[in-house]
């Protein structure tokens, strides 16, 4: 078990070494980069948006219902919703969801290419298949995922506003005062960095699992499931580590 863990980890880093090679042709790389960005990031926008709006709304209700002590300013509801969103929900929660969507997409795509010999075919043409297939995916997801954080943050706040406006659970003006109260740009930066790291893990682990898939269609499914499980656990572990490093 422990032995297997070390073997897998070693193989994973060797795989990364193969992925981070200079692309054969930059023109082809950029073309792939844009395709992958569209397939992995742009296509996640709707999912992330819907989730963020609802989370924002739910957070407002939960926070307000826990803070009906008259000594607490109602403005603090807005403040706390903002802080929870930017610190945790927009990065970690969204990353966990992307681990499912992006991770399974990458793992199953590469896995099916592996079992139908397409990866071997690329390799036999004299092209570094790991770099050609995986580098655009990993880079586009890592570099562009902070945009999803920003989107999720804005829409989360919007969702909260909708709930506030509709239910008047707290006065709308108080909500906005809360949102502006003690705003720290560093938290946004922290959240974006966190997301980039999470997304790098999601993409590279899924790619690794898919690239070495074996055992037919079943094996592809297995590799995609495994990649999601592993990246979810790692996301939560690294959430702890990064938070300790950056915020304390």
């Amino acid at each position: 078990m422990l032995r297997k863990f070390f073997i897998e980890t070693g193989r994973y880093f060797l795989f990364l070494g193969m992925v981070f090679k200079k692309p054969e042709k930059w023109r082809i790389f950029w073309k792939q980069f844009i395709l992958e960005a569209d397939k992995l990031i742009v296509s996640s926008v709707v999912l992330v948006s819907v989730i963020s709006v609802f989370i924002g709304g739910v957070l407002v209700i939960q926070t307000a219902s826990n803070m009906n002590n008259p000594f607490l300013d109602r403005m603090l509801v807005g403040y706390m919703v903002r802080e929870s969103l930017i610190l945790e929900f927009c990065s970690t929660m969204v990353a966990l969801i992307l681990a499912g969507k992006v991770g399974s997409n990458i793992a199953s795509e590469l896995g099916s290419m592996r079992i139908t010999d397409q990866i071997d075919a690329i390799e036999m043409m004299g092209v570094n298949s790991a770099s050609f297939l995986v580098l655009p995916k990993v880079l586009s997801v890592t570099l562009l995922s902070p945009l999803l954080v920003l989107l999720s943050f804005c829409l989360g706040l919007f969702g909260g506003w909708v709930v506030v406006a509709v239910t008047s659970i707290i006065p709308v003006a108080k909500y906005f005062t809360g949102l502006k109260y003690f705003f720290s740009e560093f938290y946004v930066f922290y959240s974006c960095v966190k997301m980039s790291i999470f997304c790098f893990m999601i993409a590279s682990i899924a790619a690794y699992k898919g690239y070495y898939a074996h055992g037919g269609a079943l094996g592809v499914g297995r590799s995609s499931t495994k990649s999601i499980v592993v990246s979810c656990i790692l996301i939560l572990m690294f959430d702890l580590i990064i938070t300790q490093l950056m915020l304390y």
């Binding site: 042709k25 139908t116 071997d120 390799e123 036999m124 043409m125």
Partner: protein, 252 residues
């Protein structure tokens, strides 16, 4: 020339290739024949370096490829055209993009030139008119032919085909055989073909190696195949009724 010496390969307890030595000369259609499961695909994949041999060497024109560093191996592979048993066309690309794929990487041709070359290759294997389709929309036989077109796109020095005509009708099958034969002679390629199709063996087999349970039991050409006294090979040949007739008449 491809030279194989004492090649061994096993998967766990399963000994798939057993001390195989054979030479494949340039300008000939070399064939590996044998029953299903005899290890043909494994042999082919070991020759081109996709599987690592447990023992023995494979040399291409004196160059032992398993010793090459990755970068040089990549450069070397540009001269090998491979058709996989299941075609292995790229699902993400159309037929013409599949054929243009190696050109994108290794030539500086303009888009027009690449398209012209790809159309020429597709024409030679008789699949013109399907350029815009995706591999999933083609029949198995058509996929195979597109696979051949992709393999010959850059005029390789070595052409490796894993069952180029399984799943094709007899007419197309003979067409593919003749195409491969013609290309081999025309460009002086070193061609290795895996097959268990008696028809192609008799049509284009310049140098035939018979693989049985991982051993190379017999080597010869299409003229001498009927004179063999290797019992396993005779059983293999006689499974085809036409070949059985010839065999019986010869030995009467």
């Amino acid at each position: 020339m491809i030279k194989i010496e004492h090649l061994d390969k096993s998967f766990g307890d399963l000994h798939v290739l057993n001390d195989i030595s054979i030479e494949y000369r340039q300008g000939l259609c070399n064939m590996i024949i044998g029953a299903s499961g005899s290890g043909k695909t494994v042999l082919l994949k070991t020759i081109i370096g996709l599987l690592k041999p447990d023992g023995g060497t494979v040399t291409f024109n004196g160059q032992n490829i398993s010793e090459l560093p990755y970068e040089e191996m990549k450069r070397f592979r540009q001269h090998i055209g491979v058709l996989f048993q299941n075609s292995a066309l790229f699902d993400f690309a159309t037929v013409i993009e599949n054929v243009m794929f190696p050109m994108d990487f290794f030539t500086d041709w303009s888009r027009k030139e690449k398209i012209r070359r790809a159309e020429y290759c597709l024409e030679r294997v008789n699949v013109q008119g399907n350029e815009k389709k995706y591999p999933g929309e083609l029949s198995g036989g058509m996929q195979k032919r597109v696979g051949i077109a992709r393999a010959i796109a850059l005029n390789p020095k070595y052409l490796i085909c894993d069952e180029p005509n399984s799943g094709l009708d007899p007419e197309t099958s003979i067409l593919i055989d003749r195409l491969i034969y013609g290309l081999t002679k025309e460009f002086g390629m070193t061609t290795i073909i895996n097959t268990h199709d008696m028809n192609s063996i008799l049509e284009i087999g310049d140098n035939i190696g018979f693989l049985h349970q991982g051993r190379m039991l017999w080597q010869g050409d299409r003229k001498t195949i009927f004179d063999t006294d290797c019992e396993e090979l005779r059983t293999f040949v006689c499974a085809n009724s036409l070949a059985r007739n010839i065999m019986e008449r010869k030995h009467l």
